[in-house]
């Protein structure tokens, strides 16, 4: 006597395929960067400076996407840049998610004084302008990959905490939570079996969104020269360098910028697609 609702099977939509495809491509590029890069991303050749991409006049077929003002290959630098971007996205995104979601769950479900402290902390945190906060933080703890990740976690955990808290609160008011308690389940057990699985689709969507944001923050920090040391290629660093010669060599700025844009967009769309696909309740 199951009705037809059980028969509905949703196919992963175009959105999931497109964004997932781009991200998969990026992961492959990052892993195999040393193999597929046509040049050393750091090798300078001042005689081959500002070569345009192959379809423009005066290009060199050895440099598919052209070279920057120091004669470094743009394509190779972008491939190596993807490594850093993905490391930052994965590590910073996951850490932010773990810390923020845990605090949000505690505040939203257990309430009481824990909620009071966490909520006030969120309010105070959100009064800081996030990018300035990150720049200040890096200026104090020094540059480097770890610092960038720490900065992202520190400024962005509130994003998770706020949303997860609200979701956990609305889940906490559901009858099945009361039923679980009547059936003798403790507070922690209830949180893990009744609340967390229902908040999970939202957490996943936020997590992928956060990965995109982490890449942007890293790019911003690179842009103001506060990220990783300058001899490592990053998208943000390339954009900063390309800005100086935008009228002579637009490609140095445009290619990494466009890649950055596509990647961040893909992360957010991928998350939304996953949420839609795995949410048990049809909306």
């Amino acid at each position: 006597m199951l009705d037809a609702r059980g028969q509905i099977r949703r196919l992963p939509g175009v959105r999931l395929w497109l964004s997932g495809g781009w991200l998969a491509l990026l992961v492959l590029a990052a892993i195999f960067a040393p193999l597929i890069s046509p040049h050393d991303p750091l090798a300078q050749d001042l005689f081959a400076g500002r070569l345009p991409p192959v379809w423009e006049q005066g290009s060199d077929p050895a440099f598919l996407l052209g070279t920057d003002s120091l004669g470094r290959d743009v394509l190779s630098r972008m491939l190596y840049g993807a490594r850093l971007a993905l490391i930052v996205a994965l590590v910073a995104g996951t850490l932010t998610c773990l810390i923020g979601a845990t605090l949000g769950l505690i505040a939203g479900f257990f309430r009481g004084w824990a909620d009071l402290i966490i909520s006030r902390l969120i309010d105070i945190w959100m009064a800081f302008p996030p990018v300035l906060f990150a720049i200040l933080l890096i200026a104090v703890i020094g540059t480097g990959l770890t610092s960038v990740i720490v900065a992202i976690v520190v400024i962005d955990w509130t994003r998770f905490a706020r949303v997860v808290r609200a979701e956990a609160m609305s889940q906490g008011a559901m009858d099945y939570v009361a039923s679980a308690q009547v059936a003798g389940r403790g507070r922690l057990g209830t949180a893990m079996t009744e609340i967390l699985p229902n908040v999970l689709p939202t957490i996943v969507a936020l997590l992928t969104l956060e990965m995109g944001i982490a890449i942007i923050v890293e790019a911003i920090l690179s842009f103001v020269n506060l990220s990783i040391s300058t001899d490592q290629p990053t998208w943000g660093g390339m954009i900063a360098e390309g800005r100086a010669s935008i009228y002579q060599a637009w490609w140095v700025l445009v290619f990494p910028l466009f890649t950055l844009f596509l990647t961040v967009l893909s992360f957010s769309q991928f998350g939304e697609g996953l949420k839609e696909h795995f949410d048990p309740v049809l909306r």
Binding site: M1, L2, D3, R5, G6, R111, M174, D175, Y176, A178, S179, A180, Q181, V182, A183, G184, R185, G186, T193, E194, P197, N198, L200, P280, V281, L282
Partner: protein, 292 residues
Amino acid sequence: MSFLSIRDLNVSLANGAPLLRRVSLDVAAGEVRALVGESGAGKSMIGKAVLGILPRAAKVTGGSIQLDGEDLETLSPKARRQRIGARVALIPQDPLTALNPSRRVGPQITDRLVDILGWKRAEAEARALELLEEVHIQAPDRVMKAYPHELSGGMRQRILIASAFAAEPKLIIADEPTTALDVTVQKQILKLIREMQQRHGTALLFVTHDLGVVSKIAQSLTVLYAGKVIEETDIKAFFAGPSHAYSRALLAATPKYTDPDGSLTPVPDSVIQAVEAEIAAFDAGQMGTVRA
């Protein structure tokens, strides 16, 4: 000796506003007691106080709740959960929010058997299948594996009933179990609860605002107004003629199925004023005893 015995139970909000006013109520083993009253009279609050799931803002401020001769208010939260889990169950009001949407139905029925009674998972599953058959669900093995959103409201309420009877509790609190269902399903569910209750010999505290339902299921009845017990009587005496004016007005306000076109009789203002005055006098008396 009654199985559930509530004495002088006071429940108030944090700001002191009373929700329950010295409520005393007994449910004997195997008895079906109806708890009736208007919206906001505190019917559900009594059930929640017994089960220990009062909303955050409400607190028990006096009185005792005895379950099988044991005072629940003196137990530690954990011991209390164990007692309640093993002996009392809840049939909730809204079957749509009472099952966890992200878990399959099967484990939601067997949880209590495994957690509280220490059954093996396989035994608990066999028992759940048996219960699902008992509540007239076809293909119970498929339903066990289904997610709640794949089932209709009536099906879900049947599952909740099966789940409530799973651990053979001595008492079930049914909190308006038919209110969220449509009329034809209501009738089936009511019949099912009655049938299950008789077969298992479970005591039932049936919270409702529908006197028509009461006449079909209950042996005794408690009328509540503004968190105070107005009348407590057995079912025959009540339908023959309640003693309290408010109960009489409530009975008169029940729609008659024999006369569908007849206009409804609201509870008259004079009766409301009288019962409000009674409550006010009671509160004033309470203040006196506190000061003294």
